[in-house]
């Protein structure tokens, strides 16, 4: 027991020290705790109201509805290590404690207890109490015991998934794939509300009703404790005992599975193999330093799951905007397409491409390459990486407005990207933002780097870029406004050439600035200053 207390205490001390050591985290805690309390209170109200509402409307639906809610909550906890990225499952990393003569079961138990005492978990107690009150009335304690078993099961299952992910992450290739899958799933889920609120929502509602009518969620172990609580409330002691026993078995299985995985993992029995290598000869096909830089950036971004996710998710924003505009009564017209094309190109502002070099920046700055070439290479790589935006919008334009408008949309996206890259060069050199270490979320905050000032700089840069884009976009779009679409043959190359001229003038200035500030920039991005 002393060991257990010491281990839980150690975890809390480490977490407290991590918060105390960072002003950003302290501030985050000050904001998060009241928000968590409010969320907890609102969840309690919602839980109470849900039970009362369903009990009155259709008592037969109470069990399926509560089972579905319990399953949803359970799945969200279980998948949270995946969404947070494998790096966040360090909380499940017991390897540092393995050299000590402590039984594995004690280590797993200490991790479980520490997880149970987390504020996010404690915040679940008021909703559980409200549920127990709504379900149990005078039999509140019994109903609460049932629901408490459910909470334990959720945390234990989350721990099992966390330890399993940690085991998988020992193989870098598997780690990358799981990380990418987690990020992709997170993006898809974040889009779910939009889809539900749009035309696809009715199908989702029908599917949910069918699942509830057939009581499919009875198969989910997370639902068993909720069913125990419902039976307790109805005075059905046998039903309560039966479902509680099932939930207890699920809980013990989860803890046993955690211990077994941890045991096999740390004794080296869970070998996920070594990452293999490529057998083909490496080549850099594009010519010159710009070509080498473009190929390097493309390869690095494609192989780094986080960078790949950032690149691909850049496509989602413009398409979502197009989708939302399409939901309006008038649908998407040429003007909306122009707007989306201009905004899509702005995505290059705030790319932080130099900082994304991370430790490689020292190597990059060590090369005797003209800094204009270096910036052009980095910008060209970004434009190529954002090609999916250009292609998808061109395709959308082709479908929506026909083959005449599609090249104009593509040109506006491209010239906007080129001009945004020029603006971004200044932002990167004048206001560099350090990058989290490799493997961490590139957009994660580093103390004192992503505050209001950084947001203001990005906003100003975007506004300035929009102002610079406007005349070129107007030139590109002029034939559409005049109804003389044959003029696109002249205006599109002209607009693009003009944008490129402005880009080179601006980037030459940024390159001279880079030469003057290079060591300071490196120091800032390395976190030396």
């Amino acid at each position: 027991m002393d060991l257990l207390i010491a281990l839980v205490g150690l975890r809390f001390r480490l977490e407290a020290r991590a918060i105390a050591g960072s002003r950003g985290r302290k501030l985050g805690l000050v904001v998060a705790l009241p928000a968590l309390a409010l969320f907890s209170a609102l969840s309690a109200l919602a839980a109470f109201a849900l039970v009362r509402l369903v009990s009155r409307a259709d008592p037969g639906l109470l069990l399926p509805v509560l089972s579905a809610v319990a399953t949803l909550v359970g799945l969200s906890f279980v998948l949270s290590p995946l969404f947070a990225g494998i790096a966040a499952t360090e909380t499940h990393d017991l390897s540092r404690l393995m050299p000590y003569p402590v039984p594995l079961a004690t280590l797993v138990a200490s991790s479980l207890v520490a997880n149970l005492l987390q504020p996010t978990v404690l915040a679940q107690l008021p909703p559980l109490l409200a549920l127990a009150l709504a379900l149990g009335g005078p039999r509140l304690p019994l109903a609460f015991v049932g629901l408490g078993l459910g909470l334990l099961l959720v945390i234990a299952a989350g721990q099992t998934v966390g330890i399993a992910l940690h085991a998988l992450s020992r193989n870098r290739r598997v780690h990358d794939r799981v990380l990418f899958a987690g990020i992709g799933l997170g993006v898809l889920l974040s889009l779910a509300p939009v889809l539900v609120l749009s035309r696809g929502g009715s199908a989702a509602r029908r599917l949910l009703m069918t699942l509830l009518e057939r009581d499919v969620f009875v198969l989910s172990p997370f639902a068993w404790s909720a069913r125990a609580a419902v039976h307790a409330g109805r005075g059905d002691v046998l039903g309560f005992l039966g479902w509680s026993a099932a939930a207890a078995v699920a809980l013990l299985s989860a803890v046993g599975l955690s211990t077994a995985i941890a045991g096999r993992l740390y004794r080296g029995e869970l070998d996920t193999g070594e990452a293999g290598g490529r057998s083909a000869r490496a080549r850099i096909r594009l010519p010159g330093a710009i070509g080498a830089l473009v190929e390097k950036d493309l390869r690095v971004s494609w192989r780094d799951p986080r960078l790949k996710a950032v690149t691909l998710s850049g496509v989602v924003g413009p398409l979502l905007l197009l989708f939302l505009l399409g939901q309006g009564s008038s649908g998407v017209g040429p003007l909306q397409l122009l707007l989306v094309a201009s905004i899509a190109g702005l995505g290059s502002v705030g790319s932080n491409a130099l900082a994304l070099e991370r430790q490689g920046l020292g190597l990059l700055f060590g090369f005797p390459v003209d800094r204009l070439v270096l910036l052009v290479g980095k910008n060209a790589a970004l434009v190529v990486m954002r090609a999916p935006v250009l292609l998808s919008l061109s395709l959308a334009a082709l479908v929506i407005a026909g083959p005449v408008v599609a090249p104009a949309v593509a040109t506006v996206v491209l010239l906007a990207q080129v001009l945004a890259s020029a603006a971004d060069n200044y932002v990167q050199v004048l206001f560099p933002i350090p990058m989290p270490a490799a493997g961490r979320d590139p957009n994660a905050p580093i103390a004192g780097t992503r505050g209001l000032a950084a947001a203001a700089v990005s906003l100003i840069a975007m506004t300035a870029t929009l102002a610079v884009i406007a005349p070129f976009a107007f030139l590109a779009w002029l034939p559409q406004l005049l109804g003389e679409t044959w003029l696109f043959v002249l205006t599109l190359p002209l607009a693009l050439a003009g944008a490129c001229a402005v880009y080179f003038m601006a980037t030459s200035g940024a390159a001279r600035l880079l030469v003057r500030r290079e060591p300071e920039l490196l120091s800032r991005l390395r976190g030396d200053e």
């Binding site: 057998s279 850099i284 070509g291 390097k296």
Partner: protein, 266 residues
Amino acid sequence: MSDSAARPTPDDGYAIVVEGLTRRFRRQTAVDHVTFRVARGRFFGFLGPNGAGKSTTIRMLTGLLRPSAGDAVIEGARLSGDLLALKRRIGVLTEDLALYERLTGEEHLLFAARMHGLAPAEARRRTLELLEFLTLADERGKLVVDYSQGMRKKLALACALVHGPAVLFLDEPLNGIDPVSGRVVMDLLRRLTARGVTLFFTSHVLDVVERLCDEVAVIDHGRIVAQGTLDEIRAQRELGGGASLEDVYLKLVAADVTREDLSWIS
């Protein structure tokens, strides 16, 4: 950057001329008016305890960190002048091994060669030769993220060598490298100095420094406390001819190595 009083002049006999080089980080002075010269083709050992200012000096001399004061001339290229000209002449192996983790070893070396302006065919030839030489050929298709520390060090060293620099700055090049590769690297470095390449070398392995280096400088708390050949330093510090570099070093950094025994370990 520099005070006008400390402007070294290029000298035909010297590959590295450093005058009053200083770097301050807020209130701390990491490198304090460091001055020294290294003759062309010499193997120069730069020694000092952890945090003494070795890596900071290397980062300044390679143009990766701006000095607070002072200047240097490396193979005729002034630190306060055209940094690209300086970077064409040098090869650098930094302590933090600046590498792209998501390139394969072969891609990485090929990329470094191309960024140094080598023609594709020449870049490929040197890449393959270096991979073979540093026993990385079998691992050439692996991503750097999957490399061991020793393999990373060898790859970083290959990147520093690929363009055939006149001056090599090597920060702890043998740290983490297996004994066989260590011997190969040491032999290579010896041959390079014989061909006129100047080596600026830091290491904590003093017997290696003693065997390899023609000349050493010892930095402590940001200041040079001794410089010269080992014999010269022995004479300066009135140490006998039998004193090893380790004895000299411990005396120079005034390190007390006597400790109470841990009696509870049986």
